[in-house]
């Protein structure tokens, strides 16, 4: 792999990542947004996190898989329960990773 090209790719990745991150705070933070827009933005966290998560659970290999071999999906259920009942971020991540490792070890 040509590392010089990789370097320029990284610079390009930085640019296209930074612009969407910074533009809205620069452009919007100085003005009053209509209440409906603020409410809409209030649903963005839930929507965007779920939009990223659910496909990786239902179709980790790019096809829907409800089979028992879909470790990602089945481990998500106890992981979700841990998050709901403990409200503990680290515990949730640790249980999730631990269960995946255990499933792979024992099955």
């Amino acid at each position: 792999m040509d590392q010089e090209i990789v370097f320029y790719i990284i610079i390009g990745m930085m640019a296209v990542t930074y612009v969407p991150r910074v533009l809205p705070v620069l452009a919007l933070s100085s003005r009053e947004l209509p209440p409906i827009v603020v409410r809409w933005l209030g649903y963005v966290p839930t929507a965007v996190l779920s939009a990223m998560l659910v496909p990786s659970l239902l179709a980790p290999e790019g096809v829907i898989n409800f089979g028992f071999d879909n470790t990602y999906l089945w481990v998500a259920i106890p992981t979700l329960a841990v998050a709901m009942f403990t409200r503990n971020f680290f515990g949730t991540v640790a249980v999730g990773m631990g269960l995946v490792a255990a499933v792979r070890y024992f099955f």
Partner: protein, 236 residues
Amino acid sequence: METTMSSQKIRFNDALMSAIKQALPIVLGFLPVGFAYGVLARKTGISVDNTVLMSLLVFAGSAQFIAVGLLASGASAMSVIITTFVVNLRHLLMSAALSPYLRKWSKLELAAFGFQLTDESFAVHSTRFAKGDVGKSETFLINSIAQLAWVGGTVLGIVSSSLISDIKPMGLDYALPAMFIALLIFQIKDRTHVVVGVITGLISTALALGGAGQWNVIIATLIGASLGVALSWTKK
């Protein structure tokens, strides 16, 4: 003079302690994911310098994994950059969602804040800001600690990459989904949020499988947030 100095110092120490406490969950998530990225990038044949540089300059978990995968498959520079753009376009919505809380910030502060905006720090800040915790030094400290963990995890991954043949037996590849599960659960405030979460996730999956490529996250989010507004109206 001396008293103001020491009280400033105390205030900074308070902010630092509070930032560490709030950043700790992100740190514990970022270390294994950064580690997995470091291992993967080195195994793919990306140099040590470039592997660290990507974590420093791009600082975007999923995009870095996708980029490594694309580079491994011999994709063109342009396709890696365009895919990164589409994958990270979701931050546009996160940045917009946080903007109402950042009224009093200078342009330079906003420019610095934007650079370190990630899914995880967004989730933490949107909870903090909604509670009225908008302290600048605390915000920047949380972001910097998080990035330090990301880069640190990357470096640990690089160092261990020759010892580890596969990250899968350790479950490290599940750090990202597990993190998103926790972050998502912490966002749920009422039943409307549950409906929005479920529907958005299903739409996103349908779009991803239906050939929307990496656009699925953005399109599904736009639909899901609109659905939330519509639902909150019908409830009134």
